[in-house]
């Protein structure tokens, strides 16, 4: 129930800049995911929003109020930590009741609110246990209950699903989405897992090396990655990259791979001419956008050798070696596609769906 604004936020540890001039607006009731590889500054950003780490420079506003000098206990946010950070010497009940007891609520109210939170997260049976008696998933629910038991202005979650097993993680994703919609509260969620980000976020803010790279809703990020980093970070299996060169022959534009020339729209050619620094480019093609067949069907097919086969049931991932240059890349085929290691096949890229990046700046051109 708060709009969070980060303005030129910078954090340095000694000489190292961990968060670099970050500008981000998180809307009221929005589910915002901060996504990035480990060490990109996302947890530090979250800690700064919570007030646990001082900023080196910049401003943080909650609903227009400057929060820079407000200590964490006065910010009225709730946080779930990666380690869950349960109070080890308190029972589950007292863990959940703690934020209310600090606020000196009457005992009867504490009991009823703790029970309501426990009910919501289905942990009523655990209230008398101690943290060391709980499984990872149970601890995680207790940590969530401790966060939802009061009505905070915002929830901050730091990799809350990274310590529980895969099956429970998938289940908890849906639970968290429901929870956020039920509570109608701003949620800022830090993760390095792009699947989590894609499946839960209203908007994703991708960070890399302390810098904000792109903020958009999940499908926009998937369809229009701002640069090569985002393209490669989002999607499973990850996007394939092929070095290529731009050629203009007569009035036609081509992207030149080692053995084939892909003819592209003139419009696109013009964009490349305007935006690219040189004619060295990178084609990004998701495995789903690589077509594979047994026969050569056009001049734009290139020969590949099957390097490995990964049948997943829903689809089969082929690891293919581009014969002419030795590069191995992945292609997703239907689940019944038959191939064996060493088979020679023909691959082509879906020109409607490929991305083109500038090799020097790594920025997306399309």
């Amino acid at each position: 129930m708060v709009k969070v604004v980060l303005e030129n936020v910078t954090k340095k540890f000694g000489n190292q800049t961990v968060v670099d001039n970050l500008n981000l607006e998180i809307q009221d009731k929005e589910f915002m995911v901060l996504l990035g590889p480990s060490g990109c500054g996302k947890t530090t950003t979250l800690n700064m929003i919570a007030g646990l780490e001082p900023m080196t420079s910049g401003n943080i506003y909650f609903d227009g109020t400057l929060m820079n000098n407000v200590p964490p206990e006065k910010r009225d946010v709730a946080m779930v930590f990666q380690s869950y950070a349960l109070y080890p010497n308190m029972k589950v009940f007292d863990n959940i009741a703690f934020p209310l007891e600090i606020r000196k609520l009457p005992r009867s109210e504490i009991v009823s609110q703790v029970n309501a939170a426990a009910e919501m997260l289905r942990i009523k049976g655990l209230l008398d246990k101690r943290p060391y008696e709980l499984s990872g998933g149970e601890r995680q629910r207790v940590a969530l209950a401790r966060a939802v038991v009061r009505k905070p202005k915002a929830f901050l979650l730091d990799e809350p699903l990274s310590n529980i097993d895969a099956k429970l993680r998938v289940y908890m994703r849906a639970e968290l989405i429901r929870l956020q919609k039920e509570l109608k509260t701003t949620m800022i969620y830090v993760t390095h897992d792009q699947v989590e980000a894609m499946s839960m976020a209203d908007r994703i803010a991708i960070m890399s090396e302390g810098k904000l790279v792109q903020v958009a809703d999940p499908l926009t990020i998937f369809d229009h990655p701002a640069n090569q980093f985002v393209g490669g970070f989002i999607g499973t299996p990850p996007m394939n990259f092929f070095d290529c060169a731009y050629r203009k022959i007569g009035e036609e534009s081509y992207l030149e791979l080692p053995t084939v020339k892909l003819k592209i729209d003139r419009e696109l050619g013009k964009r490349i001419e305007e935006e690219a620094k040189g004619n060295e480019l990178v084609i990004g093609a998701r495995p789903q956008d690589v077509d594979v067949s047994n026969k050569k069907t056009s001049d734009e097919d290139f020969e590949v050798e099957v390097y490995a086969v990964e049948p997943l049931g829903t689809e089969t991932i082929l690891d293919l070696c581009y014969v002419a240059c030795g590069q191995v890349f992945k292609a997703a085929t239907t689940r019944r596609f038959m191939a064996r290691i060493g088979d020679m096949l023909w691959a082509s890229l879906d020109k409607q769906r490929i991305h083109v990046f500038d090799k020097v700046t790594q920025k997306a051109i399309i």
Binding site: M79, S83, Y87, N89, P131
Partner: protein, 295 residues
């Protein structure tokens, strides 16, 4: 091979325990005998006629013991008042020192363990150096200073000296302990609404109870056992603690069984701590909330 090794470890542990416990066993044995039985040849490794008479007379009571078929009566020992007041003084002293040490060492150790600040390393070095000084090198200056300040022969004077020993040491130990506690739990307390001090009181110290308990016990024992300063500054005064009583007994009147009983009395806190708190400390469940999944 594994089994053999285990056996070897046990044998070694038993040998070590025997080695260090023999003198205590011997004094315990003696403290439960009458002088006659101590003098008997061959020596008795356990009293034939165990008696608590020595303890009673060292504490200032009349006592009786059966020797052979006769009952022998004993008068209270002349050292009893010294032993009794020594025990009381030592207890008061040790409790005061423990309370004050904890009051200072907990916040200091916490600050050193958690925060970065200017000149931190210099402060730490100073802490360590106070422990590097040989006590004998500061005892004489203290002696003269205390004469000037009229602190000689007072418990307060002794408390001040002991604090200068225990605070740096316990700060050092607690610093290491606080540094190992999960930072995120403390941060959770802050976000949940605690001020810094509140988080320390309500979350960090309870979480550190094993470390704080250990430090309390160590401080108590150091104060209870300390001899050099106690002897030089309180010997012969009403503030005399228990340890200086022993050289007086050893050099003046020979009362071996009495000395043995008094020695055993001085071991009471150690024994209590070993029996009660030893179990308490191993039972404390302080676990890292992430790595220890399940109970």
């Amino acid at each position: 091979m594994g089994k053999l090794r285990q056996v070897a470890v046990y044998v070694l542990a038993v040998l070590l325990a025997v080695w260090s416990l023999i003198p205590i066993y011997w004094f315990l044995n003696m403290s439960l005998m009458t002088e006659n039985e101590v003098a008997s040849v061959p020596v008795h490794f356990w009293p034939n006629q165990p008696t608590l008479a020595n303890y009673l007379r060292m504490l200032g009571f009349s006592a009786s013991a059966v020797v052979g078929t006769q009952t022998v009566y004993f008068l209270p020992s002349g050292y009893a008042p010294m032993i009794r007041s020594g025990m009381i003084n030592s207890t008061i002293l040790a409790l005061c020192v423990t309370a004050l040490t904890l009051a200072v060492a907990i916040p200091t150790g916490y600050s050193f363990g958690r925060y970065k600040f200017r000149h931190k390393n210099k402060f730490l070095f100073t802490l360590l150096m106070t422990r590097a000084l040989p006590p004998i090198s500061i005892v004489v200056p203290f002696f003269m200073l205390y004469q000037m300040l009229n602190l000689q022969g007072t418990l307060i004077g002794l408390v001040i000296i002991y604090l200068s020993i225990t605070i740096p040491l316990m700060t050092w130990i607690l610093m290491g302990y606080f540094a190992t506690l999960p930072l995120e739990v403390e941060r959770a307390a802050r976000v949940d609404g605690c001020t810094r001090v509140n988080a320390l009181m309500k979350v960090v110290i309870p979480m550190a109870s094993a470390g704080v308990g250990t430090v309390a016990i160590l401080t108590f024992l150091i104060s209870w056992n300390e001899f050099l300063f106690a002897w030089l500054l309180t010997a012969g005064s009403p503030a005399q603690t228990l340890p200086p009583v022993f050289p007086a007994m050893l050099f003046h009147i020979i009362d071996n069984t009495g000395l043995a009983a008094a020695t055993m009395l001085s071991l009471i806190p150690v024994i209590v701590i070993a029996l009660v708190f030893g179990r308490f400390i191993t039972r404390l469940k302080i676990v890292d909330p992430v790595t220890t999944i399940g109970g």
